[in-house]
Each structure stands twice: as C-alpha cells, then as structure tokens.
C-alpha cells in the first residue's frame, strides 16, 4: 500500500481533530481529500509528511513510519499565490526542490540540479516563463512551477493542499488533467485536497471525506451520496446534483468547529 492508516487519530493543541481513521491508499491511485473548512484535511497531509505525530493509531507511507524530508514525497503546500515582489526565478525555485535542504552553496552539483529542474519544467510545460520572477507569473503558471518543484526529485507520492483553490475554472481543468497525465505516466500516487470535488470528478479513483471528526473513504460515486454521508456522520446531509451533473454537499459545515484545517 502507498499509505495505510489504522485507528489513526489526530489532535491539535490538545483537542481531537478526527479519530478512528482506517483506510488504505493504493499505489498509483488518485485520491481527493474533501470536507468542510477546519475539518482536518491539512492535518492529515501534515501527518503523512511526518510533520505531525499521530495522537494514537498507526500510519505508514510505503511501509514506513512517515518522516520529515522524505524524498519519495513531492509536496505542494496551500498558498494564495506568491508575493508579487518575490524576486526569484521559477527555475531557481524548482532547483531548490532538488537539493534546497542541503547546507552550503551548490558547488559540484550545479549542472545536475539545473538539468533535473529543466526536465521537470519541460514536463509541466512551464519552459516559457521559468526565467521570470516567481511573484510576477500568473496563478496557473505558479501552480505549474510548484508542480515542477514537487516532481523534480522523482517522488512516488504527490501531496497537494488545495492546488486548485485560487485558479479559475479553465486553469483548474488543465492543471487537474496535467496532474493526472503525469501521475499515470510516472506511476505516481496522488493525494489532493480540494474544497470542490467537481473539477476532479472525472479523474479521481477514491475520496477521503474528512468531516465531523471522522474520515470516510470510498469511490466517489458510492461515498458522495445523501444516504452514505448521512449514515457516516449521523447528520442530515444532503447531496444535490444539478442539471450539469455537478455535485454539492449540504449539511456538514455546521457539524465542525475545529479552528485549524
């Protein structure tokens, strides 16, 4: 299994965020992490990254206890976009994904880092603006460079915290397709937090639904239904489908009161 959790529980500042989470993520699968704000989606990501220890239970990433700086994980943190004044080239940022945690200046490995960054930039189609300041390129372009950075170390697992939230609809669709294509070609396991499942629906294999202190899992069609969500969360949840086939979940937002996502 890529990720496997048994009776996993998370707490933040002494309060329980969610508990009794048991699930498996298969290698090469595309999983969307859904749920209302503050339900603990980022907490789960931080636990997989080894930045937060479980309150109880067990979690393994490729059969090992998560550890900080795991080179098999590529990561895109949640951010509303880089500061427009940030004066560093996209290319330099991607190169930091190669060896940015090592001490000193890059001496011998300069050509190798540059080549790895170049290949990654090409793969996400960001060559046209990789030499522009990171703060000055558009949100969609920043997201591609973030993706290039996450992929540069040839990871097996890609963790993304709301990579679509600050993009318009058209960019959302192209980024999701890009992620899906790259993941298929490279056999990557993808976990992606989203607050709207609709741009993802054609691509996701599984859904981790984080709400009301619980994590439920299943195929999107079987989990995002009025009956299942109501049953799991013992709350009057309603799943509405509009005429375009878009899905909306109503009734879970009021159930959560955790201060941190």
């Amino acid at each position: 299994m890529a990720i496997s959790a048994r009776d996993l529980a998370a707490s933040y500042a002494g309060r329980s965020v969610w508990s009794d989470a048991t699930f498996d993520i298969e290698p090469g699968s595309f999983t969307a992490i859904l749920g209302p704000n503050g339900s603990g989606k980022t907490t789960l990501i931080r636990m997989i990254l080894g930045l937060l220890a479980p309150a109880s239970g067990r979690i393994e990433v490729f059969g090992r206890t998560p550890r900080r700086g795991d080179p098999t994980i590529g990561y895109i943190p949640q951010r509303p976009g880089f500061d427009p004044e940030l004066s560093i080239r996209g290319r330099d940022f991607v190169e930091l994904g190669v060896d940015g945690w090592r001490w000193g200046v890059r001496l011998g490995g300069r050509a190798k880092a540059a080549a790895a960054a170049e290949a990654s930039i090409e793969a996400v189609g960001a060559a046209g603006y990789a030499d522009h300041p990171l703060g000055r390129v558009s949100g969609g372009e920043q997201q591609r460079l973030l993706l290039a950075q996450a992929l540069v170390g040839s990871p097996r697992l890609l963790l993304m915290d709301e990579p679509l939230s600050y993009l318009d609809m058209r960019n959302q669709r192209t980024i999701v397709q890009l992620i899906r294509d790259l993941a298929r070609r490279r056999g990557l396991t993808v976990l992606l937090i989203a607050h709207d499942v609709n741009p993802l629906l054609p691509y996701v294999d599984r859904v981790l639904y984080v709400a009301a202190g619980k994590i439920a899992t299943g195929a999107p069609g079987e989990i995002i239904t009025t009956e299942r969500l109501s049953e799991i969360y013992s709350a009057p949840v309603e799943v509405i489908r509009d005429s375009h086939g878009r899905v909306f979940v109503v009734g879970l937002e009021e159930e959560t009161s955790h201060p941190h996502a």
Partner: protein, 290 residues
C-alpha cells in the same frame, strides 16, 4: 600617526588629477581605516541585505539597530565599550525575533512595541551619561572617520564570521525564505534557521552601525538589495549587485565627504536614496525599451 577624530573632515580641495586625489584621500590613517572598515561592512551588508529583502524582514533589521542603540548607550553609562552593548542587545533581540518565526502575523507589531520601549531606555541612558553628546551622536549617525586600526581588525573578523555563516546556511536559508512551509516539509530546520539568520543580521547590523549609525542602517543593508532585485531575479546575481552597490555608496560617500564639510553618512544615504529613486523612476522607460 595623526590623532584625528573629526566628525567632518577639514576639507581639502580636489585637484583635476585623479591619481593625486587618491593620494590626498589616503594621506591620513583615519581615511585608510575608514575605507578598510567601510569595505568590509559594505560586503557584509550587501550580501545579508538580499535575504532581509527576500524574507520581508526589513522592519526587523531596522528595529534591531534601534534596539541596539539602547544597549550601546547603556554600555557607555556602565563604562563599557558601546559595541559590547550594541552587540548584546542586537543579538538578544535578534534571537527573540527569529524565534517568533518569519511568517507570524502581527510579528511587526510585537517588534514595534519592544522597539519603542528600548528607544525609551536609550533616552534614559543618554540622559544619565554626562559625558560628550558626541558619543550618542556617533551611535545614531555613524563614526566611520573615528575608526582605529584595532576596530578595523575586529570588523574584519566579525565580517568573515558573518560571511562564512551566511555561505554555510545559503541554500536552506534561500529555500525557507521563498517557501517556509515547503522547506520545513523537506527537512529544513526553519525555526533554527530563522534564529540563526537574525543572529547573523545582528552582527552585521552592529558592524554597519559604525559606518552609518543606527538611524541610517537601511541605506547600507536594505537599499542596495532592494535596488538589486529590480534588476535580476537570480539570487547570486542579486547578491553580487547588492554588494557592488553597497561598496559604491560607501567608497563614493567617503570620497565626497573628504572634500566637503558635510558628514559621510549624509552622502552614503543620499547616494543610496537617489540611486533607488532613479531606478524606480526609470522602470517604465526601461520596460518600454525592452
């Protein structure tokens, strides 16, 4: 050796022969020392300034020097060297600011509150010290023309330590300055680095105070880097340009001041300011030409 410790120089007149002018410039030991110390300080300030700008820590840098003022004034009252008090206070507050974290919301408010109080302390110490007002004046506005040979050596040692440390932490510092969350996930000790950076900055600020004083520190640490990032978004180039500009401002400032009755700090800060202004104003023009 001449014992000359003026705040402004007895102004000789420049000739039209540049070689002769340079000879005049380095005639006195105090000018040689000023150039030596100024060169070290400019290199340190120019390079650390890049990270100050990149991390959005220019207010913290500014605050460090002001907090250092209270320490320096206190040291003078206690009969110690002002540099000792300056370094103690900038290091102490630097480490505290670093521990607050780089991205903490409201950090600047906290810094400002501490800053206001320490400036109040500085005023108290100045009033307690019945000696020369020049001591306070030199701290506030710099005393590069009063630098001894021993000061130059101390500055050089501190400068080398600062640069070696900066080179050692270069890559992870750059990474965490661009994206702290990501760098942390990749195994960079972000809080430790944040503290280390502020400690390096504290030493750099203490050095730079000799040249431009606590009030004018921005001109050497922040302005050159702020200009540099408008020309290039490649970190090593930006650092190089920053160092070059800091050197230029210092050398030119010293040279002009030597032939004029006005203080060095005024010329250094003016050169920095007008260069920045020129670069900003010419931006639409340069963009149109591209």
């Amino acid at each position: 050796m001449l014992e000359v410790l003026p705040l402004t120089i007895p102004n000789p007149t420049p000739s039209w022969n540049p070689l002769e002018d340079v000879a005049i410039l380095f005639h006195y030991d105090f000018m040689v020392h000023a150039f030596q110390a100024g060169t070290v300080v400019a290199i340190v300030a120019g390079s650390i300034g890049y990270f100050v700008v990149l991390r959005g820590s220019s207010f913290a840098a500014h605050a460090l020097s002001h907090i250092g003022f209270a320490g320096a004034a206190g040291a003078v009252v206690a009969g110690l060297s002002p540099v000792v008090g300056l370094l103690a206070f900038t290091l102490g507050s630097g480490v505290a600011i670093g521990a607050l974290g780089n991205r903490l919301r409201g950090r600047d408010v906290t810094i400002g509150i501490v800053l206001a109080w320490t400036l109040g302390l500085g005023v108290l110490f100045i009033s307690l010290y019945r000696g020369y007002a020049t001591e306070a004046y030199a701290l506030l506005f710099g005393e590069i023309l009063g630098i001894s040979e021993r000061d130059v050596i101390v500055t050089l040692i501190a400068g080398v330590i600062t640069l070696v440390t900066l080179v050692t932490v270069y890559r992870p510092l750059l990474f965490s300055s661009v994206d702290e969350e990501l760098a942390g996930a990749k195994g960079v000790p972000v809080t430790g680095l944040s503290i280390a950076f502020m400690a390096i900055l504290a030493v750099a600020v203490t050095e730079a105070v000799q040249v431009v004083g606590v009030l004018l520190i921005f001109a050497l640490i922040v302005t050159p880097a702020a200009i540099a990032i408008r020309f290039t978004s490649r970190p090593p180039f930006a650092i190089g340009i920053g160092i070059g500009l800091a050197l230029l401002f210092t050398w030119l400032g010293l040279s002009i001041a030597y032939f004029s009755p006005h203080p060095v700090s005024f010329f250094i800060t003016s050169l920095a300011f007008f260069t920045y202004l020129g670069v900003r104003l010419s931006e639409p023009l340069r963009r149109a030409l591209r």
